[in-house]
Symmetry: C2
Subunit: 331 residues, 2 copies
DNA sequence: TCGATTGCTGAGATCGGTTGCAATAACAGT
DNA sequence: ACTGTTATTGCAACCGATCTCAGCAATCGA
């Protein structure tokens, strides 16, 4: 097919290319009659505007990068999924950027997004390290973060209330009769992970029971190690809170390998609300984060900031999702 | 920061912009002395070339779209992960495109990739439907497909040998002593899914045992339904092959809810080799697909095609990955 | 010593749009 | 009929590179 530029459409429609341009991007600036004619002609030719050329001239594009540490982690996958949708509902095109936890890549993506004239970007950081790169760029460029941020007044953020989530988990477990409740820490060194841990420590203390941190590591094997630790204890807790669903899976799996059954022998509750949890064995009781909402809100926040410069910090409410990995303690 | 274009670098270095351009994209065409000076100056200014402007002028970019139906499915997530890496090892930038199984979106992405001057694209189709859109575009534009394709001589493809995979599974199960082996179908209506099913049917027959298809659906609940069907049978098989890991998870989960234990009561083997499987309860025995290889090869194939126009069809060897969801039949 | 090659750099058109400004047409008011 | 808007459209410069064509100096063969 012969290269389809704005000029060929213009010629075909018998108008100047600027008129074609306006017909597409500023409809009210061209007589409706002319516009419809142009659009019809364009349609017939199968013409679409080049996003590249547009971005170059306008110095602003519709590409919006979503920076995540690991798309293999279902939490980020679900986030990516809802965000792509939220994005193109508003005419944006989401670019998925995977850092694999490499801060250098994060940096690279930031400069790339700048070069692509992205109007803003979304970051779901894996470690506090990213925060540095973030600060360097966030100042000049619009970024919204899916996490809490140190001295978080500079960039908009959206998170869920970690404390409330842990509270929900604790309450659920208490109401089932558990009094000794352990904790296995999360995958990454994010503020969110930290917050959950802190909340557990505080709330445990408040309720009078001694906190039992089975593992405070931050890698994928935290779950496995936590389970090992659990197995070695003389007087193990009767329930375990996992910092997120993935480690809950690992915990249950590791426990299962040693013949410990969930929830018969010990209850386990996760944190995330992944769809996957419903198909785990057993289906995972968990604290659900409204991931879809987070996606939409992140974009809204970014747009809002672009318009009136406001920097908001939204914190969403988590909710308890009871499935089958928790029950009363064995008697 | 003042807009950093090639001209400001040129001015700063005291040369013409075409020289700067060459210094970056055709190093051998400029005196090494000059080049180094330019590069130094550019470095100092923190200058990077605009990929947009480059793509526009060159009519070819380094954006390469990866079109997948659902990033939430760990198979595609792992594929995306290894492909991003493979991609930027070669200087490409992967754009993740999620269709949610909507053919219209597939179409949209194709035209978008065209507009972005992508040198080629990678498609992991969800249904045969995508194939149509594919044919419409693949002719004019380079696309490599992660699946088999009808009359597959037009586009390069990479797949794993489904028949061999099923054979591996069957052999494993047979060697454990199973003779009655059921099958639960896969998630999507891809050729791959079809091939696995066909292979099961054929190989079962060959080995003299009647095939037992527990569910042939193609949605996420195939696993659940398969399990239900299993529970209703008077004489259920002693082992189950799941068309992919995700349905294996669902099967085991559903079975577990009814008190049927894996592998004690029934063995289950998956197909994919997801990392997740290692942390399932129990850890999943499965047929591993070399996903990382698929990613690299897909890109190699595309490049090769771009160069010498060759259209190859690579089929990779799957391998058996024994974990804990299979054992001898209960006696 | 002189024309021919070779190596390096500058000019300027071009990629596909956007946009401020000027020009023309259409419409009102008096 | 004449002038002051207002609605439309054309003109041309510009966004940030790339690339062909020339120009110019240095090197080479005879």
């Amino acid at each position: 097919m012969p290269d389809l530029s704005i000029d060929v459409v213009a010629k075909a429609a018998g108008v100047h290319r600027s008129t074609v341009s306006r017909a597409f991007s500023r409809p009210e600036a061209v007589k409706s009659e002319t516009r419809e004619h142009i659009l019809r002609v364009a349609e017939g030719l199968g013409y679409t505007m080049s996003p590249l050329a547009q971005a170059l001239r306008r110095k602003t594009s519709t590409f919006i990068p979503l920076i995540v540490p690991d798309i293999t982690n279902p939490f980020f996958a679900e986030l990516a999924k809802t965000m792509t949708q939220a994005a193109d509902e508003r005419g944006y095109q989401l670019l998925l950027c995977v850092t694999n936890g490499d801060p250098a890549k994060t940096d690279g993506y930031f400069t790339a997004m700048q070069a692509m004239y992205a109007p803003f970007g979304i970051v779901a950081p894996s470690t506090k390290v990213d925060t540095e790169a973030l600060k360097r760029f966030a100042f000049g460029h619009k970024v919204v973060v899916i996490d809490r941020v140190e001295g978080d007044d500079a960039v908009p953020t959206v998170t869920v209330d970690s404390r409330r989530g842990i509270m929900l988990a604790l309450d659920h477990l208490h109401s089932l009769g558990h009094t000794s409740i352990g904790y296995v820490s999360g995958i990454a060194g994010t503020h969110t992970a930290q917050d959950r841990m802190d909340a557990y420590l505080e709330l445990s203390a408040e309720s009078g029971s001694a906190p039992v941190v089975l593992d405070s590591g931050s890698d994928l094997d935290a779950g496995t190690r936590g389970a090992e630790h659990f197995l070695e204890m003389e007087n193990p807790p009767t329930a375990i809170i996992a910092a997120n669903d993935m480690v809950a899976f690992a915990v249950i799996s590791a426990l299962g390998r040693s013949g410990v059954r969930v929830p018969e022998d010990v209850s386990v509750i996760g944190f995330d609300g992944l769809a996957l949890g419903a198909r785990f064995n057993p289906p995972l009781t968990t604290i659900r984060q409204p991931i879809a909402d987070m996606g939409h809100i992140a974009i809204e926040l970014a747009e809002k900031q672009n318009i009136d410069g406001s920097v908001d910090h939204i914190v969403l409410e988590p909710e308890l999702l009871v499935r089958s990995s928790t029950s009363g303690p064995r008697t």
